[in-house]
Amino acid sequence: MSETMAARASGVRPRRSRRSMARRLLAVYTGVVMVYTLVPIAVMIAFSFNRAPSGRVTMKWLGFTADWYAHAFSNADLTGALMHSLEVAFGAMIISVIVGTPLALALARYRYRAKTVTDVIIFADIAAPAVVVGASLLSFFLTLNLPRGLLTILIAHVAFDIAFVVVVIRARVSGLDRALDRAAADLGATPWVAFWKVTFPLILPGIVGAGLLAFALSIDDLIITSFVAGQTLTFPLWVYGAVKTGIPPQVFVLSTLIFVGGVVLAVVNSVMAHRSPGGT
């Protein structure tokens, strides 16, 4: 009691140390949350090395084996589903960037009548719950009698990717200095040339980022896909269906490989990006 009073009298010290205590606690807490986010990933990786005599992963640990990595692609249905996912994700990435980029440019650079309505629709597309988007597309395809399959999955994925592409690229375009375009025009460039020589290279990082986001959203989607897939299965759909019948170890093996590959690519990419501006 008297100690704290003395400390209080002598100045701000206790407060400062209490503050650094709080900071340290916060750092520890952040570490705990990070570990918590990684727990399921650790479980996935661990169970990809679990023995599974029945060909299905058991929840009990039966011993270490790396055998499943030698048979990573031996479940033909699962590999086929993964191929579908990759095809759709590539297709949706390319189409949504091609369709969405012009709209992002228009929204960032022009004032025009339909802008507010467009904003609302883009916002609605992002905010709409996946169940509603999936159910409405299925209703639409049912009404048209359009058979569900890879094409309807692609259509659905582009429909939700576009909005994100527009938002990402628009932010990039808004951050650009318009003086650059004007300079190009002053130097005699036509709008077409100015776009490809000046604007496009500057917004390219935004386009790449938007494309990667579209790819990631598409390959991860389960809910919307489950409505419009028909008999065609993507990787998440296949796994979802296998939850009831038993998960073959290849599920964990393939997703571990995707995880490691994705992380390596991301790290390499950020290291490269950090190096290039220094130029040394």
């Binding site: 900071r23 807490y29 990070m34 640990w61 916002f123 159910a135 409405s136 979802y240 995880f259």
Partner: protein
Amino acid sequence: MATRSGRRLGKRAAPYLLSLPSWVYLAVFFVIPLGSMLTLSLAVGNPLVGYTLTGHVAEFKHAIDLYHTQFLRSFYFGALSTLATLVITYPVAYWIAFYGGKHKATYLFLILLPFFVTFVIRTLAWQFILADQGVVLGHLKDWGLLSQRAYILSTRWAVIGGLVYNSLAYYVLPLYVALEKIDRRVVRAASDLYASPSTTFWRVILPLSAPGIFAGFLLVFVTSVGDFVNAEILGGPGSYMIGNVIQQDFFVNQNYPMAAALSSILMFLLMVAIYLYARAFGTESIQEYAA
């Protein structure tokens, strides 16, 4: 003269021409489908004989009578899990934004690592972790710390836990963006004016990070309310949400009008919520934080 007016016309038409591809796509594959969903919910029939549009709204009343429990549960689970996610992630975003130093990007990357594993498999991993004889409960039971009959899976807490886990990264990002934007001079000014750290936090930092809180809340809440995967994998029929019912009505019962009615009601409820939200906080800020 002619070319100049031609160019001016071209300039005025430019935004419309640039917007056209997206407009057409979103009209055909986003707006019109919402209309077909409404139409289907007003129809009577089955997949064998086809549908006739009757325009009677009985399906809606019927839908609410049958499934109001699942609707209420969805909103309850959604609100609770979003709130929990906010409480868990705010300190993390705060620490990274204010004390992350040179390694901010690395910390964010660590938080975003789960995105490299697909959503179903993350949820499936939780099923393995929480299973009655799984990694955690199995050991606790073997050591005698838990009764043999204890279980977590198929309870509402497992579902809410799954929703929270899957929302973490989606909430950290908007919070981080909002906190990172706060001008540090304002924070320093507060302490120069003898505000205690807690006063500075409650009266300066928290209000300034509000756009991130609201944008994240909206996105996480909507995603969680509409989810059926967590309820299916971690829960069971006793914790089914409205998404599970819609799925089952489409694919198990093939009662398309009922499924369409349910998703129309869900859309309507969320639209009202989002409209009030957007009016209060503006769509621009929410969009900005969404990406």
